[in-house]
């Protein structure tokens, strides 16, 4: 992996971070609200007002959560079938990053829900799935930390199981999906064209941030593993006490 990747992505992300904050408060409309009418969600009214601005953080983080989880899942399957350590490093690093992004999604979502629905949490489809996904990620990270030598196999098995659990969680939650979502008219949350530049820049910023974090973590995980392997070889050869 190119050694400039992390600094470049991180600094571009930092610039984007400052820029998006400025744009969120200066170039996006404030009077946005969700109303439901016969199953369709559209924008109008003003009760969300300023609080809607958390959208520019919440949604990009959710995108990155899914990107990270998908990367981790695919890497886990590749590790189980090919047994190449590289895939396991990627699976672990992206799962850790996914856990961080997932925490941000849940916290920002909860703040938004308090304003939009007057409750911190409801057991709605999308929320339940995100929460259980996040819990599985935390379990995954715990296994990697505390399961010792067989942690890689155990964790990749867990990732595969988690993937087949997801559709069951979807059908398990009977309640309607009242979460604001993309509809036939495009993403409902960006229907106002004035929101789009800020939103897209925000997604790009967090994508860069995600790539920087994941690349740095993958390198860290690989180094940890190499040190461990060297130490084992040293012990085997009798060089280390």
């Amino acid at each position: 992996m190119n050694r400039y990747l992390v600094p470049i992505c991180a600094s571009l992300g930092a610039i984007g971070f400052v820029l998006t904050i400025w744009m969120i408060f200066n170039s996006t409309p404030t009077q946005v609200d969700y109303q439901t009418d016969e199953g369709h969600v559209f924008l109008s009214g003003s009760s969300l007002f300023f609080n809607q601005k958390i959208f520019y953080y919440h949604v990009p983080h959710a995108f990155m959560l899914f990107a990270a989880v998908a990367t981790s899942g695919i890497a886990s399957i590749l590790f189980l079938t090919k047994r190449v350590q590289k895939w396991d490093d990627i699976a672990l690093a992206t799962a850790e990053v996914a856990a961080v992004f997932g925490a941000v999604v849940l916290v920002t979502g909860s703040i938004w829900a308090k304003v939009a629905w007057d409750r911190w949490w409801i057991w709605e489809k999308r929320l339940t799935m995100s929460l259980l996904l996040w819990l599985t990620l935390i379990g995954y990270v715990l296994v990697r930390r505390f399961a010792g030598a067989s942690a890689d196999r155990l964790a990749s098995g867990m990732a595969v199981f988690a993937m087949i659990t997801l559709p069951f969680i979807y059908f398990m939650v009977g309640a309607d999906d009242s979460h604001p979502q993309a509809g036939p008219d495009g993403n409902v949350a960006t229907q106002d064209p004035r929101m789009r530049p800020t939103f897209y820049l925000s997604v790009l910023t967090f994508l860069l941030w995600f790539v920087a974090l994941a690349a740095a973590r993958i390198r860290g995980v690989r180094m940890e593993r190499e040190v461990r392997e060297l130490r084992e070889r040293g012990l085997d050869a009798g060089v280390l006490a």
């Binding site: 189980l80 259980l132 819990l135 599985t136 379990g139 715990l142 296994v143 505390f146 399961a147 010792g148 030598a149 067989s150 942690a151 196999r153 155990l154 098995g157 867990m158 595969v160 199981f161 988690a162 087949i164 659990t165 069951f168 969680i169 059908f171 398990m172």
Partner: protein, 225 residues
């Protein structure tokens, strides 16, 4: 001998060991009974509330007692390193796995045999009068044992296996417990809600099938000595 025959031999071996000491059976069943009693104390003795809470109590008792049983059942294979011997026997790994899961299913079912009458007695909820509950419990026990056996076997050599088992297992099993609880709740509705009941029993069946297929595939790559 077919794989099924071999699996039955493995299950028979496990159950024979268990029947000689009855250690897991007694401790699991007693723990399940204790949970039922604790539930009866901590929840208000209100007939309506009890009816709403009883399905949840039943499945929580099964989950907790089942986890204890799983840990103990696989500890037994670890103590004398018999898991290695078992994996070295000239039968497919599939048979070993299926046998282990089948024996575990029997143990989990025996816990529910204690919990169901006790809960329905202590909380005055008519759980015993509904035969479809047995089907839901059987499917629940199969799903729990299949997934639990894979991870218990993989955790065998791990030092902190006792805490890691529920950490891994519960997020994956939440759909199973929700389906079981919902099916039981459908039974307790007045009048009985058959549509809901069979939806959740079907859900349990598909869940078991999917997890069984993946477990069979994963077991070999996860449990290597």
């Amino acid at each position: 001998m077919t794989v099924i025959g071999q699996a039955l031999r493995v299950a028979g071996k496990d159950l024979r060991i268990e029947l000689r000491s009855r250690e897991i059976l007694y401790t699991m069943a007693f723990f399940g009974a204790l949970l039922a009693v604790v539930d009866a104390f901590v929840f208000p003795a209100n007939a309506k509330l009890a009816r709403a809470a009883a399905p949840g109590m039943l499945w929580v008792a099964i989950a907790f007692a089942g986890t204890i049983g799983l840990g103990r059942a696989f500890d037994r294979e670890r103590e004398n390193d018999t898991m290695r011997a078992l994996l070295l026997t000239p039968v497919p790994r599939l048979a070993v796995f299926l046998g282990k899961a089948a024996a575990m299913t029997v143990l989990v079912l025996s816990v529910s045999l204690v919990c169901v009458p006790l809960l329905s007695l202590l909380l005055d909820v008519p759980l015993v009068e509904h035969p479809p509950l047995a089907l839901a419990l059987l499917l629940g026990a199969i799903g729990f044992s299949v997934t639990g056996s894979v991870f218990s076997a993989a955790l065998l050599k791990v030092r902190s296996r006792d805490v890691l088992l529920p950490v891994i297992l519960y997020p994956l099993l939440i759909p199973l417990f929700v389906a079981g609880t919902s099916a039981t709740a459908a039974l307790l509705e007045i009048p009985r809600n058959d549509d809901k009941l069979w939806y959740w029993i079907g859900f349990l069946g598909i869940y078991d099938l999917a997890f069984l297929v993946v477990s069979v595939w994963i077991f070999e790559s996860m449990v290597i000595e």
